[in-house]
């Protein structure tokens, strides 16, 4: 499940981050020490960090768009 969730998060980041999406995700994941057994809710702080990154890269309007997509992915129940 985390693998699938992570893939979907990276896919959601890709429109803004392009080639950097996977690296940016891995960087944030390491920073927050998210391990193998992480539950979907554990990814919410990571989503907040990604929102901050999006804001730095493209401003609040774009950050909000990506953030909304990411929150929907993390909160979606299987």
């Amino acid at each position: 499940m985390p693998g699938d969730l992570e893939k979907r998060i990276v896919d959601c980041m890709r429109p803004l981050f392009g080639e950097f999406a996977a690296t940016a995700f891995a960087q944030q994941k390491a920073k927050l020490k998210l391990g193998e057994g992480a539950a979907p809710e554990d990814y919410l702080p990571l989503v907040e960090e990604i929102r901050t990154m999006c804001d730095q890269v493209a401003g609040p309007a774009v950050a909000e768009k990506i953030y909304t997509g990411l929150v929907a992915i993390v909160r979606e129940r299987p």
Binding site: Q56, V57, A58
Partner: protein
């Protein structure tokens, strides 16, 4: 009574154009830049390439509601924003121009982070395609070609740049590529001297530093599908915006 409606149609329908909103300039090129063109905006350091280009995107957003993306590969978003505010353009006053700061990503992740063999020219074309979908933009500016070249390792510049320009063209956007000129003696508009052939238009900003003064001139060197004036006009910028002096 009109017998044949076909007779009323002009031989060629008018070409949709993007107005520059540089005062007096659009009148020198049949009303503006043909939509879908790829235009090099060239000049030496300090010739206001970035400011002029951003101004065109900003005015298109404010006056016509067109969305655009300004990709900066070297100057940070905050620094660019401060500079634009200083010359009277307020990037925060519209949400229709997205300034995408890829320099921030380069800084935090390193240029080689995504992989050893990234084709940066293709990656940027793909990225712009994503921005078109994500942001619904019609106009793109990329600042600068030199910064892009510093990322990409060329084997055959002529061939690779041909595919880069064609990839950009296929996206159907009007594209401004900012190009830095280095040789003070010659008008070489871009590093590989092929970009001006591949582009549909070339706008040259020239700084004349003589007699203790520094004056700026703008010339439309090339604009396909357009009868344009080839003169260089003094370019001024004031709180009202950019203006070329034509009389």
């Amino acid at each position: 009574m009109i017998e044949n409606v076909e007779e009323l149609k002009p031989a060629h329908p008018p070409i949709p154009r993007i107005r520059s909103y540089v005062k007096n300039l659009d009148a020198q090129m049949e009303g503006g830049i043909p939509e879908g063109s790829i235009v090099l905006v060239c000049g030496r350091p300090g010739s206001m390439k970035s400011s002029l280009t951003y101004s065109m995107l900003h005015m298109q957003a404010v006056k016509e509601g067109r969305r655009s993306v300004y990709i900066t590969l070297e100057q940070g978003r905050a620094s660019l924003g401060r500079h634009l505010n200083h010359i009277g353009l307020q990037p925060d006053s519209t949400d229709k121009v997205a300034i995408v700061d890829l320099s921030a990503l380069r800084k935090s992740m390193g240029d080689k982070a995504p992989g050893e063999n990234v084709n940066w020219l293709q990656a940027i074309v793909d990225q712009v395609g994503s921005y078109k979908d994500l942001l619904g933009c019609e106009i793109l500016a990329m600042d600068s070609m030199s910064a892009l070249y510093s990322l990409h390792e060329f084997d055959n510049p002529r061939r690779e740049l041909f595919h880069f320009f064609e990839g950009m063209r296929d996206l159907g956007l009007t594209v401004f590529l900012i190009s830095e000129m280095y040789d003070p003696e010659k008008d070489i508009f871009a590093r590989y001297e092929v970009e001006d052939f591949l582009a549909d238009g070339v706008i040259h900003l020239k700084v004349d530093r003589s007699e203790g003064q520094s004056n700026l001139y703008l010339g439309v060197v090339k604009m396909r599908e357009t009868r344009h004036n080839r003169n260089y006009f003094p370019l001024i910028v004031d709180p009202e915006g950019f203006e070329v002096v034509t009389d």
